[in-house]
Amino acid sequence: MLQVIIKRVLIAIPVILVVASLTFFLVRMAPGGPFDADKVVPPQVMKNLNAVYNLDAPLMVQYKDYMLNLLQGDFGPSFRYPGRSVTEMIFTGLPVTFELAFYAIIVAILIGSLAGVLAAVKRNTALDYIPMTIAMIGICMPTFLLGPLLVLIFGIQFEVLPVSGWGSLSGDKILPSITLGAAYAAYIARLSRGGMLETLSQDYIRTARAKGLPEYKVIINHALQGGLVPVVSFLGPAIAGLIGGSFVVETIFQIPGLGRFYVEAAFNRDYTMILGTTIFFSSLIIFFNLLSDIAVLLMNPRARSDA
């Protein structure tokens, strides 16, 4: 068990290093220097700029320096915002993005597993069909459409909720969290329904029923643990999707999080910022995938043997 976990961790480390190196060279391959887009500067200034940002060193030396700094948590200076470091910007945006993602996951898990478990228990009734149809719509409706529609309905038509910002007006966190969480609620509903249906047909559930347990105890004490395994293994990859979704949601609702910084950096061609956030996001996602793998191992003893 411990061995499997250690093995997973040991695989994750080189993956992060490869991703970091690949991103570094990709960004350095970009045509033109980072300062070309601005107005023409005298050659001496250009030279000084390059020296300040360590761009005059040979590529391999730059690579070595960057990776060494990276190991100390230093992502280098931002090209676009002089005087601000990428690390500083990441840690300004990160708490906001984390908070948003956290609420979204809560929305997704609560609504999703409730709907899914209910649908499985009341199989082939209206309580099964209605939530599952809504879930299908939730999966097909992209975040970048759902968000604006919610804004249109609750913000502009009925004027009950603020349509932008984060933490400045009361209730301004509601729409972004629902927008980001909706698609995951839909997936979780489908996954937990499938997982519950499979678990409810197992022999140990029949045993539990045979010994006279009330149905709600059968479900809560016996079926949930097995039935929600697919949901837990989905949560890791879901984090990856949440980050992509946060790009959209933070842009729509003007939330000062990491996702919006990334999209802005992509527009401004702020190469160090792009480089830093890409590496940071990748490590984050690999880390969460690792966590959900381990959680699945702990919950489902049968997965341990083929890991």
Partner: protein, 284 residues
């Protein structure tokens, strides 16, 4: 050969019996028709700007209204269909070629080749591809063909897994072992015995990949990193719709509706195809 054609015939009958899938298929067919013949169907030019007409609500002349620059929204949606569907099909094609060859090689040769190839897929699965696509678009410019390639290069992983699984099953069937014993060459084996038998799952998964690809393209275009003006995909139209939705809500609603219906149709058709080709695997 006879048995095989009856399998496809059976599947076809099952597909026709599935109303949701049939409706999805018809919608896709109509959309493809509209997209291909857009230049002849569109009542107005998609790029002609007439500021005096700026942002009219739907009327007899412009029955989905006009955008803020006075361009006919219906014509723009028609032309957007060309770009969105093209991305869907081309990028899925790219994913198909990579995924199928990867899966066949891994599954057929097995052993160490298989474990190395599938380990690579496992590792790639864990990476944040949206970020990499954005990175590529930033570095190499917002080129539509690069967009197709980048999206396709991301979506092949699941295809590789599915094909490998199928090949592994088929490889251990007795008729394949018999063919192997008779000394049939690898290429003959693919062509005669393996490829025809994995066509079904490939077709199903390809249909289900198309909406994912279209979603990814729309996502990038929404952020302004995908299709660039004056060309427009549905993602671009939704982006402009959001910018002006407070005054001109139809600019968001019609493109959004078209896009959602298309994704619905593709998903229902794909699900129906899966049920038709392999009645054993139900949706979930």
């Amino acid at each position: 050969m006879n048995h095989q054609s009856s399998l496809w015939l059976d599947a076809w009958r099952r597909l026709l019996a599935n109303k949701a899938a049939l409706a999805g298929g018809i919608i896709i067919f109509i959309l493809m028709f509209l997209a291909i013949f857009a230049p002849w169907i569109a009542p107005h030019s998609y790029s002609y700007q007439n500021l005096e007409l700026g942002a009219q609500p739907p009327s007899a002349d412009f029955f989905l209204g006009t955008d803020t620059l006075g361009r006919d929204l219906f014509s723009r949606i028609l032309y957007g269909a060309r770009v969105s569907l093209l991305v869907g099909f081309v990028a899925t094609g790219v994913a198909l070629v990579i995924g199928v060859s990867w899966g066949i090689v891994a599954g057929y040769f097995g052993g160490r080749v298989d474990s190395v190839m599938m380990r690579i897929v496992d590792v790639l699965y864990g990476l944040p591809f949206i970020i990499f696509i954005i990175l590529l678009m930033v570095i190499f410019g917002r080129n539509i063909w690069l967009l197709f390639g980048a999206i396709g290069a991301v979506e092949w992983l699941t295809m590789a897994r599915i094909v490998r699984g199928q090949v592994l099953t088929i490889k251990n069937q007795e008729y394949v072992l018999a063919a192997q014993a008779m000394g049939v060459s690898n290429i003959q084996m693919f062509r005669k015995h393996i490829f025809p038998n994995i066509l079904g799952p490939i077709a199903v998964y390809a249909t289900l990949t198309i909406p994912q690809v279209m979603l990814l393209e729309a996502f990038l275009s929404f952020l302004g990193l995908g299709i660039q003006p004056p060309m427009s995909s549905w993602g671009t139209l939704i982006r402009y719709g959001v910018e002006s939705m407070e005054e001109y809500s139809w600019l968001l609603i019609y493109p959004g509706l078209t896009f959602t219906i298309t994704l619905f149709a593709l998903n229902f058709f794909g699900d129906g195809l899966r049920d038709a080709l392999d009645p054993k695997i139900s949706s979930d």
